[in-house]
Structures are given as C-alpha cells and as structure tokens.
C-alpha cells in the first residue's frame, strides 16, 4: 500500500491516540522524574467546632514562590523509581546483605509494597489468562453447534459476566460468598466445614479472585473465537470430513490453525488486561490479602489529601514496562507474521 493511501486511512486513529494517550504518556514520563518542591511549613492556630489546636500548615505564598521559580518541581532522576514504594533498591540491598537464608529474603522482599503487588499481579495474569482463553474457546465450540433458535439467548447469557458492570457484579458476588450468602453456605455444606470463609485467608482470597477473573474473562475469548469460527472456510471443513477426519481432528488441524491470529490477539489483550487487574480487588475488599500494580496507582492518586502524582507516574511506567516484557513473545510472533506478509 502506498504511503499516501496508508496515511489517509490511518490518520484519524493516530491523531486521536497521539492527543489523548501519547501526549499524556510524555507528561507522565516527565512527572515521574520530578518530586514536589520543598513545602515551606509554619505553625498556626486552628479553630473549629471542636476547639482550637496548633497545627502545621503549608505556607502557601512561600511555596508558590518556589513553584513559580521551577514549575516542574525538583528533578529527582530515577529516584522515585528506586525508592521504597517502587523498586526499593536500597532496601533490597540491605536485605541481601543481612539475612537468615532464602526464606527470610523472600519474606522480607514480599513485605515491600511493589513486590507484594507484583507477585499477585503476575500470578493472576498467568493463571487467569490461559484458563479464561481455554474456557472461552470451549464455549465457542459448544455454542457453535447449538441450534439456530437457541443461539441468541445462549450468547446473551454467556456474555453476562462481561456485561454486568464490575462495580455491581463483584459487590453481589462478594455478598453471595459471605458465610451467610448462598454460595458461601453451599461451599460450607459441600466441604462440611461451618467455619469456612473465602475471605479470611490469603490463599482462599486469591483463589476467589482467580475464579472471578476466569469467569469475567471467558466471555471475551468466547465472543472473539465464536466470531472467528464463522469465518472458517466451509469447503475446507467439508473436505476434511470427506477425508474421514473426526471432530477432534477437525478442531485440531483446521479450526485451531485458522484461529491462530485471533488467538494471538486474544492472548495479547487478556495478558494486558489481567496484568492491570484492579476492580476485583476493590470489589471483593481484598486489599488486605491481594494488591496489584494498578491498585498501587489508584492508592497514590486517591490519597486523602495529597495525591502522589510522581509515584503514580512511576508505577504506571513500570506497569507499561511489565506489559512489554510480558507480551514480547507475542510481539515476536506478530513481527514474524508481519514479515511473512511483507
């Protein structure tokens, strides 16, 4: 395709992305390299409905003068990336220099917020992504063989986990798995353990989040694979049938290769989405047992009175770096496909 035609076709999409994503990313990169100005503090008397106290406040005028002299803040280089809230380089140095063996190293590194979040994020990504894709593929195959009349409702019900806004979906499930909820009681009866609670221990909380993750992720894979199945060339399938290929063989040698590019795409999207897992943690009140990178960003930006933009920017960039590392196999594959095409 000539450059000019290409440009004409892609321009609107590129402009939108440059303005609303690329530009903010640049500002986020800049932000992550700076920390706030030194705040000039002063003590003042502070009176309200509950009496007077002496409190420290920011001397707004003096601080504003510092700010206008240097609007970006104080340059900190990669300092924010290496501090305790992120990669914690010096803390890890201390741990490595003085410890009681591997178990101690692991426990103490896990105690650092970034690594704690990273461990859950990675576990979630690597468990939920393949399971969700396999489940979605199996659903797509089954739905494809359902009679025409039933297809619509079956598709609708299969999509429900994705359709219901996570805000409410996780809230309702959260109450259903309560020890007094319908699922919680059912599990207690099933395992004959009246004290069983999915929310009290870390392993069970993780398990709950994984199951919820697969449940919400499967419909996406299902829809994409289902749409892909519609484009499987009928004549290839027919000739395979005439050759006496069993159903399994048809799936293995005709359908799966045909869905290859789509599977790459689904893997790409799902890896990325699962790596950014956030809503289930809040929805299931699981912060005590599981945090993710996106949750750290949220925690910095929702600060009670001071928002830590630099810290959030650094975590966001580390998230992007993580995604790129994670997706590199898929990217290499795309590159190969791309080169073959050219």
């Amino acid at each position: 395709m000539p450059h000019k035609t290409f440009l004409a076709f892609i321009l609107p999409a590129v402009i939108a992305m440059l303005l609303f994503i690329a530009l903010p990313i640049v500002s986020v990169i800049v932000q992550s390299l700076y920390v706030e100005h030194e705040q000039v503090l002063e003590e003042v008397e502070n009176c309200g409905p509950f009496g007077c106290t002496t409190e420290v406040r920011v001397d707004a005028e003096a601080t504003a003068a510092l700010k206008s002299a240097d609007p970006l803040g104080r340059f900190n280089g990669l300092g924010t990336f290496f501090n305790r809230s992120h990669l914690a380089v010096s803390e890890i140095g201390v741990i490595l220099a003085d410890n009681d063996g591997l178990g101690d190293i692991a426990a103490r590194i896990y105690n650092l917020p970034f690594y704690k979040a990273l461990l859950f994020t990675l576990s979630y990504t690597f468990i939920v992504t393949p399971l969700g894709m396999i489940l979605g593929f199996l659903i797509a195959l089954s739905v494809n063989s359902v009679s025409q009349v039933l297809k619509g409702p079956v598709i609708f019900f299969s999509l429900l986990p994705m359709i219901i806004t996570p805000l409410i979906g996780s809230l309702i499930l959260f109450w259903m798995i309560n020890s007094q909820g319908i699922l919680g009681s059912a599990l207690q009866a099933l395992f004959n353990d009246p004290t069983l609670s999915l929310k009290a221990s870390t392993p069970l909380t993780w398990l709950t989040l994984f199951v919820y993750g697969v449940w919400t992720a499967a419909p996406f894979s299902f829809v994409v694979f289902y749409a892909g199945l519609q484009t499987v060339p009928g004549d290839t399938l027919e000739s395979a049938m005439i050759d006496g290929a069993s159903r399994w063989e048809r799936v293995r040698y005709v359908i799966i290769p045909h869905l290859g590019p789509l599977a790459t795409f689904v893997a790409l999207v799902q890896l990325m989405d699962n790596f950014r897992v956030f809503e289930p943690i809040v929805g299931f009140s699981a912060e005590a047992n599981a945090t993710s990178l996106s949750w750290l960003v949220f925690n910095d930006l929702q600060g009670e009175s001071t928002q830590l933009f630099g810290s959030a920017a650094a975590t966001s960039l580390l998230t992007i770096a993580g995604v790129i590392v994670l997706l590199s196999p898929v990217l290499v594959r795309t590159w190969r496909e791309f080169s073959n095409k050219a």
Partner: protein
C-alpha cells in the same frame, strides 16, 4: 456411507452430549448471579444482602415486614423516579452510540491500512498502540483534568466521547487488524484490478465480508463505553453523568449510607436492553457468514 463414518458419527454423538452438558453447566455458572440479582432486586436490602441467612432473599422476610408483600418495586421506583436514573440512561445511550460509531469508523480505516501495509512503520504503529493501551486509565484521566478545566471542555458528553474513542482506539485497531488479516488479500486486489480505487475496494468488497469482525469489535467498543467508570466518573458533570457513575453514587460512601437496592435495580434494568442488542448482533454475525460464503 462407510463403516468408519458410522463410528465417527457415534463418537460425535457422545461428543455432542458432552458439549451440551458442558454448555449447560457454563450457562448456569454465567447466568446464575444475574438471575439471582433479578430476583433480589424485588426485595429490600436486608433480605437480598442478608447477614442472617441467604434464605431471607428467597422468602423475603424483611420485605414482607417492611412493605407488606413478598416483592417490592421500591428499588426501581427509587432509582428511576426519586433519583432520575432515566437521565443517566439517556446520557449513556448518547455516549455509547457515539463511541461505537466513531471508534468503528476510524478503527476500520486504520485497521485495514495496518493489515494491508507491508511497511515497517505499520508494525511500529501497532506496537505503539499496544504500549498506549498498557497505560492504566486512572493515570491518564488524572492528567486530563487540569487541561480540560483550562480549555473549558470539562464535564461535556462530547469530551468524554472523544476520550473514550481515543482510549479505546488501540484495542479497536488491533482487533480489526487481526480480522482483516484473515480476509484474503486477493479479494481487494482483484477489485482494484477491476478498476476500483483503494477506498472503493475497502468499502464495497472488504467491509461486507468483514461484518462479523466489525460487529464483534463494535460490541466491545460498546461495552467499554457502557461499563466505563474511570473516565466518566472523573470527566462528566452531574447532569451529564452516565449510568455506571450514577449507580456508584447509589452505593454510598464510607461514612454515609447509600441505597444499594437502587443500584441493584438500576443494574437489572440497564441489562434488559442489552438482551435485544445481543440478539441483533448475533444475527449480524450469521449474515456475515453468508456474505463470506457467497464470495467463497
């Protein structure tokens, strides 16, 4: 028919049974929480969200006590009449429709170009789009606030639509790109040999075959706009609020009691129109199939 095919047919019958059983299990797992919610939306909060026993949700002990009947429409009344949920529905309809249409229009053009261009920069655009998509939305949105206030475009539906389209573009491009790849190149090339311009080939030859892809991508654009919370909660003023932030406002906050049943009723009523939409979408996929078969 030979003997082997008889065996194959029997085997495929077992397989069919297994696949039906599997599907039924899945449907129960997928739909049960929603059906439970539909049922519960006609109860009061202390029944549906009971801390005593889930049986309360079934029999409506407190619903009976508080309203005198085992079912109540209070949640629906509260959400729709008291708290003007319909306004959020109208806003959502505008936002989702615009986001879907705009996303698909610029996305199909871009995705097609990316799939048909062999130049190296096309690959890098795809990679850049991927990196863009990795950015947590909440970071992007908190960066928008000050410039949007300064430009006086904060709070309007149009702003949110444009932002959602942009945020959604990497996904749309990737998805449509993958779909276009599965359509043979000869198709549009032969059309161009027949005298079509590139755009005509795209519009009249490729797009008709692409319906399953376009509709599927459209469904996801739709759901993204429909379920979005990060963008719409931060960038829309109260009058322009869409459904999800509105529902979240029913939930209350740390120190304040919300009205959770309003939220539950709102979610149930918001899901009903989607049923029609999915039925429609499903038929389009099939029509795409026939279109594809004709060309075969």
């Amino acid at each position: 028919m030979s003997g082997t095919s008889m065996i194959a047919r029997r085997r495929s019958r077992t397989l069919a049974t297994v696949s039906t059983l599997f599907l039924i299990t899945w449907l129960i797992v997928a739909a049960f929480p929603f059906l439970w919610t539909v049922w519960g939306s006609f109860k009061v909060e202390s029944d549906f969200f009971s801390r005593e026993s889930w049986l309360n949700a079934l029999f409506g002990v407190y619903t009976e006590m508080q309203t005198g009947a085992p079912f109540t429409g209070d949640g629906y009344y509260g959400a729709w009449i008291t708290r003007d949920f319909w306004r959020a529905v109208v806003n959502t309809a505008i936002v989702t429709l615009c986001v879907t249409v705009i996303s698909l229009t610029i996305g199909t053009l871009g995705g097609y170009a990316l799939a048909r261009s062999g130049h190296r920069y096309a690959f890098w655009i795809l990679i850049a789009a991927l990196v863009f998509r990795a950015m947590p939305h909440i970071t992007l949105v908190s960066g928008y606030l000050l410039p949007f206030f300064e430009l006086n475009i904060w709070g309007h539906l149009a702003t949110s639509i444009v932002v959602l389209v942009a945020i959604n573009q990497p996904f749309t491009l990737w998805m449509l790109h993958s779909f276009f790849l599965s359509i043979p190149k000869d198709l549009d090339e032969s059309a161009m040999v027949d005298g079509c311009t590139r755009f005509q080939a795209f519009r009249w030859v490729v797009i008709p075959v692409m319906w399953p892809g376009v509709i599927t991508t459209g469904l996801f654009s739709f759901l993204l706009a429909y379920n979005d919370f990060a963008v719409t909660a931060m960038l829309l003023s109260q009058d322009n609020q869409t459904m999800v932030p509105k529902i979240s406002s029913f939930l209350g906050s740390i120190q304040e009691q919300g009205n959770v049943m309003f939220a539950v009723a709102a979610v149930v009523s918001a899901t009903a129109p989607l049923f029609l939409l999915v039925m429609f979408f499903q038929r389009q996929i099939v029509s795409g199939l026939t279109a594809g078969a004709v060309k075969g």
